[in-house]
Point group: C2
């Protein structure tokens, strides 16, 4: 049987998982690849660091040159995170004739066009299934399995850390800070989880998916995004009273005047599939014009789910499928103009949830309703709890001066302007929380 020599650059959690699949399950990978996938080198930063895996003699090295200068190694799993030196290493590896498999979504979201064009110039390929949604094979599904469709919309829970935090806050009524600490202990959140909880990670993944599904070329920084870092336990509780859960949702929707892209905490109706995605799971709902809705649910991160995606890419690359797909689809091609434009964020239409701290005086609701009406926003429902001072003990645990308003459909621009104006009312005693509501 023929052999494909492979190197792994970066032996962290995922790299170790990939090595495990290659070393322990060679029968399986060779059956699916039609050739032996042979782990020849594993590049680590620190040779002295203890590892969870026994690698055969001669495999571990701390020199990337051992990979670059070995012409027998034809495929490299590049698992170094961040932008540099990951970018330079990837360019060097491709220049040395290696095909790439990577899980680095930040790198692709930032430097996709440069890296993919360079790969094409050099006759190389980049496979990146593991960069989005961990074990859910959404890249292959959009690029190949659903290729008969114009994708119409794509909504997903793309950041497992955020979803874990939100689920735990919701189910245990715990505070944001407590849950973040717990997530760090369990290994679900980095020591610095900023990119996860501020929506950046989800926006980077959404930018990649939007390119595959819609031909959009978008700087992920341009995607309007709100994280879960400002989410209060109150909002989760009010949402539940209204029949919703709050999820950090990435949305890409095609309309006549362009593509809508956004990332933000969103009220999702309880009982619908996206609302029931718990903890570190990811899920994506894709609607194609032929296939209709297709829903995917799986582990969005973790050692072996991500390694599963990396090794599937290794098999595809070894079989030759990646080359055919890569040549045909021309991902991130600088020569191809984007097929869609982004819509002006202010024109996006959706329903909104407002939580307002108000003074408990006659006319408060009227003044707020007047501002909303002025901006063409009509109210769908209101929760206003009586103050405990009203001798009503039923709701004493709930902030007596909180008003929650659910609206009918309105543009984001109108909602934003209304929020500013409402915050300037004398009856409103603090900042307004505004969240999107999924249709």
């Amino acid at each position: 049987m023929e052999k494909t020599n492979i190197a792994i650059v970066g032996m962290g959690t995922v790299g170790t998982g990939v090595a495990r699949l290659l070393l322990d399950h060679g029968d399986r990978t060779s059956r699916h690849a039609g050739r032996i996938l042979w782990l020849k080198k594993a590049v680590v930063r620190d040779l002295s660091k203890p590892r969870d895996i026994d690698l055969p003699d001669g495999v571990v090295t701390d020199s990337i040159a051992d990979v670059i200068n070995d012409p027998e190694i034809t495929v490299v799993v590049q698992l170094i995170g961040g932008l540099e030196p990951a970018r330079t290493i990837m360019l060097d590896l491709m220049a040395a004739g290696k095909d790439i498999v990577t899980a680095n979504k930040a790198l692709l979201a930032q430097h996709g066009p440069e890296l993919f064009n360079r790969a094409r110039e050099l006759g190389r390929t980049i496979a990146f299934e593991a960069s989005v949604a961990g074990g859910i094979p959404i890249i292959a599904n959009i690029s190949q399995c659903l290729s008969a469709n114009q994708i119409v919309s794509l909504e997903g829970i793309l950041n497992g850390t955020s979803n874990f935090i939100v689920t735990q806050m919701d189910e245990r009524s715990a505070s944001y800070d407590d849950v973040v600490r717990q997530a760090q202990k369990l290994g679900y959140a980095e020591a610095d989880p900023a990119m996860d909880v501020d929506g950046s990670d989800a926006a980077q993944k959404l930018a990649i998916l939007a390119h595959l599904a819609f031909g959009a070329t978008v700087d992920w920084n341009d995607i309007p995004r709100v994280g879960i870092d400002g989410l209060a336990a109150d909002d989760l509780r009010y949402a539940r009273q209204l029949g919703y859960r709050i999820k950090l949702l990435g949305v890409a929707k095609l309309a006549e005047d362009g593509l809508e892209l956004s990332v933000g905490p969103t009220l999702v109706k309880i009982g619908t599939p996206l609302a029931e995605v718990r903890d570190a799971f990811n899920a994506i709902r894709v609607i194609g014009d032929a296939v209709g809705p297709v829903f995917y649910h799986g582990l969005g991160a973790g050692q072996m789910p991500t390694a599963s995606a990396v090794v599937a890419d290794l098999i595809d690359t070894a079989v030759g499928r990646t080359r055919l797909t890569f040549q045909t689809l021309e991902y991130f091609s600088i020569d191809q103009p984007p097929r869609v434009k982004l819509r002006d964020a202010d024109t996006l239409v959706g329903r909104y949830y407002f939580r307002l701290p108000v003074s408990n005086h006659p006319g408060t609701l009227a003044s707020i309703a007047t501002v909303l009406a002025k901006h063409g926003i009509s109210i769908a429902s209101v929760i206003q709890h009586e103050s405990p001072g009203d001798d009503n003990e039923a709701d004493v645990t709930i902030d007596p001066v909180t008003l929650v308003v659910m609206t009918h459909a309105a543009t984001a621009g109108a909602a934003r302007k209304a929020t500013d104006e409402i915050e300037s009312l004398s009856t409103v005693t603090g900042p307004v929380v505004r969240l999107q509501v999924k249709d």
Copy 2:
């Protein structure tokens, strides 16, 4: 741009959908295939029959010879149902040098080894994404996307007609016969829905998936199967009281001593993803040893979802991916021994639901519990409603002499023997209903 000439054999619902995608969306298919997918011929049985689609001049023919003898046509979508003449036509088309795309699961489940071996001899390919689960791309997901995994289990709602019937019976408390008539009116069920409702269709699909996921070579007739045709509204109602819905589930599970395969109406816990699959949707839950659980949900049938799968196969075939996959995986190879054996059905372990019509006498429950205990089956819960004659009016609408028993885990053999013995008790007044309960 190069061109791949295509023929469709069989212009029913799905064939018309495929033609529509090829004719109306040539820009999309050529972008994804890197070449033009050109519909050159469409073979129909009756030229005079009115059609829902305007085909260009010269495309329609009633002669398969127009396809077989045209060397420019290299890929044929074979959409004739049933076993013959579908099998002979497929063999003739392959002998004439055509690659095949098909949705005919009955043909593959029955004649897979013969057809696939012949394809390999002739250097041809067979793509069959549309044969299982309609728009859900489960074939590609198991064969490629999850190829780093040993699939551990696979559970699915694979027959949309049955799921539609069961959902409607459950939600509208309608009788089986009423709902079948409604399903026929809506086009969800054939005039003769026997293969759908007796579990045969699901067993054929499960046989194909079991081959891909586990390397099992199994005659679909050997899969223990029960349909929904004997399901009573009572069982749906009792299941709901116990916190379950009943779904026609196809299950393939790997154990040390072999592969468990079965199709049957199964109690699935309300709130779990499979329980919430409604109407004509299909869903499949796959567990891989690396990726963990992955859940897929989508339309299991219908014109455009199925056409979506067919055209994805056409694109894969035109790009060349199908050839690589086909050569590597050696589906249904006569030369390759099956990688797993089927477990003896009697040894399968699961929980059971029993519904028993009993006489309302002291000792009835004791006699039944004794039989169960004798076979090592322990009782988890019981529903026994008092008779209206007991002056208790709370449950007068419920059959007064019905006993429902949920058991803990037991072997299928023990459950079967216990059933036989219970039915012979004098206190049991009619046949016992026995259904599986999903863990």
